[in-house]
Symmetry: C2
Subunit: 441 residues, 2 copies
């Protein structure tokens, strides 16, 4: 019998604020970071990353240590578990972590403790997929509808979707799985890029990056908005003229506005034909998003990267508040809760366009987006997966994007295994990248 | 000039799970706990608790260390601040803490980081009130409408209430403040008790406690429900027969149900005439609460102890999801965010009945509930403040409840200063109460 022998957690931070990569209206200086988790077993060759479970929760600098502390609080529930039993019932595992009767008080299912749950649950999925020798998406795409539904916690969801309804939905898609896999092996999964439109970039850099993106095959580009309306209008005009009338321009306000302000601001940007406005206001404001969506239609409202659990997505879908559903692989409590949201979005007929970027998020969603098409929604209509070309060099199996499309991952696992030398170099505060900064003052 | 010289944070836990005090359907074994914060200045007599700012975030055991870690992350923003400047603009202070551009990622304004903000903001209010020689409620009741409104962050609220509308509302109440203070000095503020109805208590204990509560002057009692319908019916019948037809019986499910289940279960309890059902489902489910409220009217739906910020309360009020608004003094980000919710509840005409119990919550709300009457809502109609007779002996200025009524606090500060010997005895894991348990195994 193989057991979980240790759970390592490392605070890893990349000094991205130096170049204003990732700068937006609410987060002017992010240092892309992760609470990074490694599950080690007592089995053979346990120091080999290919035999460990790796997972991370994405953060942006300060506060990563809090998520690491939250992982520590989960460790006693994980140490000693039989890896086969764990792998056979990852639904129970994720419910156990999210449902601890004392820890849930500091959530429930939100904030630091839920980010920690995501990192650990995803690490357990990575371990299972590596042991089964399959990339995560293929492992999941090989499960029966009943097995997939067993992974999902339907608590609080049954007024929108029941386990029986979910099984029925998955059964309808099941006969088409193989042909869709074959299709994606050839075409890849459509992507859009955010790398061109960070708020901290100047116009020349934006123009250059936009032209490169179009040359690389992207037909959809997202820009950050919300700091200054004149700037936004100028940049939107610049991007629209580069994109031409047919490519998509998306906008992202990163929670900058009140409801009324969001409506006014985006009406002012309408001449540049934005396809969606993302995070127009507080991520908690379901009714606010719904009001904005009604006022701005047919422009779509998109949100999700800060929607902290399945109950928030349920309401966003019930209230017709979103036209685009942006799951986040580690804001939600890991693979299991992502499956819950994929199912609800399919029920509602709302396309899922995963949030990515940061560090590791593209690696995660390169598994989730194809899975949605293959087994859940069965559609590519209005679907595209975010892409930002940062920090992929730190991963053992970096995501592959070409021709504006994500290529299906082929390495076993969930793709999030970071190169040991990257972890060592960027660990905070003692890795050389940070200790040198401290000594420089 | 006096500055903040140090911020101490202590993990304090009381082993309440031994007696099943506080047991409910989702939290069977809480150890009432706190992330306890002390602001120390560089002024004279700085070791005297009466010259320090004390605040806490309430927790229930495991996870308190995570909130303490989150407080640590806020400390660099607090150390060195001029205490006079801080006291003069606590609105700016609370916005600074809640708005840190990196820390907000692990919220925003929810979970461990927001609990930490609450503890620190409340400690700053305690410091200000002690320096001004007034109990917090009286300090706030002495501020102009404009000064109160300046304390509130209206971000994301302006589709419900603007600063100008809030000033107008407060001005309308201002002429009545003195007479209401005089009234409450005599009558106290109405309370209800939860001490009788914990899920872990047997019928005899419930009956005895109910009779004692009635003898003590309480006309409203709350029971925990949601674990077993037969038990709930028997206990509700027992309590109703003790209470008679005119006293109020409230019920609290602590998030146990899905939406449909909540409606069915409470319909079954209707013969016992529950006045409200509290936390029937996920605290995040605004639309779910609204559906339950529509189905069960005229029974009221109450929630708030897990509503993590002002945006959640805004929606609960906008959607007519709650008939009773249960603010929590340290789930919300401290006094400032509580003021935001008091204002919105007054706009909506929904009575505020603060959540209390745990450890320190009664001490906190003994200031907030009277303030609501004196300066904001101007009404006692449907208002009552939760009371549970646990752990008050640990506070330097424990709350006083008699004749079923909270007495107005008179000691300077926010009432949350814990006795030094209690902190020493119950600090986790090194205080004697806990280290002895460890050594006993």
């Amino acid at each position: 019998m193989t057991r979980i022998a240790a759970v390592d957690v490392v605070d890893v931070r990349f000094p991205t604020s130096d170049a204003l990569d990732g700068s937006d209206a609410m987060h002017p200086d992010p240092d892309y970071s992760a609470a990074y988790v490694v599950l080690r077993t007592d089995g053979r060759d346990a120091d080999n990353p290919r035999r460990q479970g790796h997972g991370l929760a994405f953060t942006i600098g300060r506060g990563t240590e809090i998520v690491c502390k939250a992982v520590d609080a989960l460790v006693p529930m994980v140490i000693g578990l039989d890896v086969d039993e764990l792998s056979a019932d990852l639904g129970r595992f994720s419910r156990m972590l999210a449902g601890d009767s004392q820890l849930r008080w500091i959530g429930p299912e939100k904030g630091a403790i839920h980010l920690a749950v995501a990192a650990v649950v995803n690490a357990a999925w990575d371990l299972r997929a590596k042991r089964e020798g399959q990339p995560l998406w293929r492992l999941l795409a090989g499960l029966s509808p009943e097995a997939i539904v067993d992974l999902v916690d339907f608590t609080y969801l049954t007024d929108m979707v029941t386990p029986a309804a979910a099984v029925a939905l998955l059964r309808e898609q099941q006969p088409h799985r193989a042909e869709r896999i074959a299709e994606l092996e050839v075409t890849g999964y459509p992507a859009y890029t955010t790398s061109a439109g960070w708020l901290g970039y100047d116009d020349d850099k934006i123009r250059t990056l936009c032209r490169e993106a179009i040359a690389d095959g992207f037909n959809a580009i997202k820009m950050k908005v919300g700091a200054n309306l004149d700037d936004d209008q100028r940049r939107a005009g610049l991007l629209r003229s580069e994109l031409g009338p047919d490519r998509l321009l998306m906008t992202d306000a990163n929670q900058r506005w009140d409801v009324g302000e969001a409506i006014e601001w985006m009406r002012a940007l309408r001449p540049h034909d934005p396809y969606w406005i993302e995070e127009p206001t507080s991520p908690d404001d379901v009714l606010g998003h719904a009001a904005i969506a009604r006022a701005l239609a047919p422009m779509k409202v998109a949100t999700g990267e800060h929607a902290h659990n399945r109950v928030m997505f349920k309401q966003l879908l019930q209230a017709d508040a979103i036209g685009v559903c942006q799951i986040d692989a580690c804001r939600l409590g890991g693979v299991n809760e992502v499956l819950a949201v994929l199912l609800m979005a399919a029920v509602a007929g709302v396309p899922v366009c995963p949030h990515a970027g940061g560090v590791g998020l593209c690696e995660y969603v390169s598994h989730l987006a194809p899975l949605d098409y293959i087994a859940v929604s069965g559609s590519l209509d209005g679907r595209m997966c975010e892409w930002a070309d940062h920090l992929h060099e730190h991963f053992a199996d970096p995501v592959s994007v070409s021709g504006g499309r994500y290529r299906l991952p082929s390495a076993p696992g969930y793709g999030i295994t970071m190169r040991p030398e990257s972890i060592e170099q960027f660990r905070f505060p003692d890795g050389p990248v940070w200790s040198e900064r401290v000594s420089r003052g």
